[in-house]
Symmetry: C2
Subunit: 450 residues, 2 copies
Amino acid sequence: MREYSGLLTDLYELTMAAGYFQTGFDGRATFELFIRHLPPHRNYLIAAGLEEAINFLERVDFSQDEIEYLRSHPIFAKIGADFFAYLGKFRFTGDVWAMPEGTIAFPGEPIMRITAPIIEAQILETYLLATLSYSTMIASKAARLYTAARGRQVVDFSARRAHGGAASLLCARASVVGGCTGTSNTLAGEMYGIGTYGTQAHSWVMAHEDEADAFNHFLDTFPAGATLLVDTYDVRKAVKTIISIGRKPAGIRLDSGDLRADSRWARRELDRAGWKDVKIFASGDLDEYKIASLLKKGAAIDAFGVGAALGTPGDAPHLNLIYKLVEVERGGKIREAAKFSRSKVTYPGRKQVFRHSNSRGEFSGDKIALEDEPPGGGEPLLVQVMRDGRRVAPKEPLTALRERCISSLARLPKQYPQLNRSAIYPVRYSQRLKVMLADVRRRVQHPAVK
Amino acid sequence: MREYSGLLTDLYELTMAAGYFQTGFDGRATFELFIRHLPPHRNYLIAAGLEEAINFLERVDFSQDEIEYLRSHPIFAKIGADFFAYLGKFRFTGDVWAMPEGTIAFPGEPIMRITAPIIEAQILETYLLATLSYSTMIASKAARLYTAARGRQVVDFSARRAHGGAASLLCARASVVGGCTGTSNTLAGEMYGIGTYGTQAHSWVMAHEDEADAFNHFLDTFPAGATLLVDTYDVRKAVKTIISIGRKPAGIRLDSGDLRADSRWARRELDRAGWKDVKIFASGDLDEYKIASLLKKGAAIDAFGVGAALGTPGDAPHLNLIYKLVEVERGGKIREAAKFSRSKVTYPGRKQVFRHSNSRGEFSGDKIALEDEPPGGGEPLLVQVMRDGRRVAPKEPLTALRERCISSLARLPKQYPQLNRSAIYPVRYSQRLKVMLADVRRRVQHPAVK
């Protein structure tokens, strides 16, 4: 696939683009990306995916083949050559404000705001929604795992459960934004400089005539770094075999069975052998609830590998991020836009989010306001990352994003970073936004009753 | 990212590869990919993802940069230059047998079997699991949507909820394998020749001063193909507006609200206007259960767009496909392999699946047997697709894969293609496999008690 293809979008974005083009609608529009409601059990989100989005916005275009494809599509049969010539020169020329990755976000708060000629902003909707939704979902899940593990390492093991290779890379990166220490995904290690982990699987043990041979041969190859997998046949026999071999591994890994009982038993056996520094690693269908429960019950586990629950979370398999028009310019006139379908209201206007703290440095509440409102002591969360289609914010190292997430979680009052829906963080709209919403509602409802 | 990178794998596959290399373990191994249990509510799977897997196997290699990355990784500090030279020449040289895409599959049945030098087969595990799991999960979900829609079109609308752009393409393709008619994903349309659908979003309506203008301008651009979205403010007002404009659209789309009541009301209004051929399209958090319920209650809907429930299914967010060693050669001797950890048994040996039919042509049961067992009247499901690293099965058109799925579903007795867990399709193991399993169990347990 062409990684930065303008065709990476829903067809309706392109038909609308043609419609704006044909009818001379060339004003600038502002769209905001946010969620209306938190997924079940969540108290907050961790914004992520911005770097990927900026990369795309800097490079997106249409190849001649892609334009020919559109030209041959029946829906575009009546569209003249000018529109296709426009696509041939298409580049993103807009402005982007966004929450830096690792920032805590709540419902209603834009994690990104984009202002551009309406055709550009429309065409980019699908890509931006997918990219920011996925990474934000993963970083938010990783933060829960980080909380549950209480200082122990959590490693992304999800590559084999990912939605293909490219998704596995985005997942590894977003996992680190949310607090994971590393990944099993080797290409993610190379591309993003993330620490990579893993040594042996069941197949290594099964490929050898007996388990002692399997362990010995692995220790021959990796005398210092081997973590030996002990549950292929019988955990306790395997641990005894390793101790009887007498060559100290770096660690052992439990991947099934009673992780609490087996880890405690293995810890005692390893300690008795004088191997107090041999780490116990656990994996096998783990999630934040199981990790919290294992640690609460005294499991002797030093680090966790989490696969499917991190990469394809069953409790929140997607994030309902939306991309809403909040302002549009036409014929030199700016007009605020909002949506009022049953039970779904969208506030108009270009917004900023101000986060307030109390005297102890804890976050005490957010105010969503218009971008030109005074901060009133709050910290503005959206920063400008692109101007006229060019990146203006420097690329941040992944370690800085992870640090932002972890230090922000530490400033969140302790009722929020919990595994269950525990409390609703206070987020309010400014008075000016409320007035503007009422004005738009009157204006939109008026023509409908004429 | 490099699309066919050998680093697209878990680090432990590469440490095991180094272990096999250093200890002179160069025999051929056979691994099989299958699921142990069906996800909740499922009675069958639809195999998919094979084309993507073959593409990868034909092209995978390691770049010099990638090899340098591995060489600099602490875990490989003691590994000599020969192993890295081996990776520099790495190509897949093995044999692959697989179920053609669109084939119905059940637990225990290999959807792929790979025989190759053990290092190759090990390195490729992670990629093959991810690719076949994801596409099989999506095709299986699409088949449920196809069943629920009872002949009406179902279109993949999941691009904005996909795990990034690349995942959205795999999803669009697998959706069609499982019975969908098309996708909203434009790049998928271009790459795979899938029909693409979609015309306008809420933002088009919101960008215009009033709804009548929005509809008129869209009809100006697309006089023949416009499907107008009617729920931005008020469905019934919008439908009346369209009728009063007097320009017949191709269709209308409902994206929220009471789809049953609104579709029936809209159908009557459109019919009364003499517009019996204007189609009613529905979308908005649909899944197979909602589609079945809408149709059962008489909703007047001609086609459905399905997003998140198709691309990121909440009821089965991943497939637990596994990759198990079933046979290994060392020093010229072939040895069968199996796994016996608590409650998880894997049958040894290279397998074939034979599907039996009754006199009415209905599928009556499957037998999993060794590859050289006689079919006994059953149809062998695994076909050879690669030999010595080269493709030997021709690439099939996507329409043929969809047709295979649909005609197979029609041959499945009607208790199986249901939306809930209804009946367990009979799958049994051959007598020779059972004997071989018992032999391996004795052999593996013997050394453990010595």
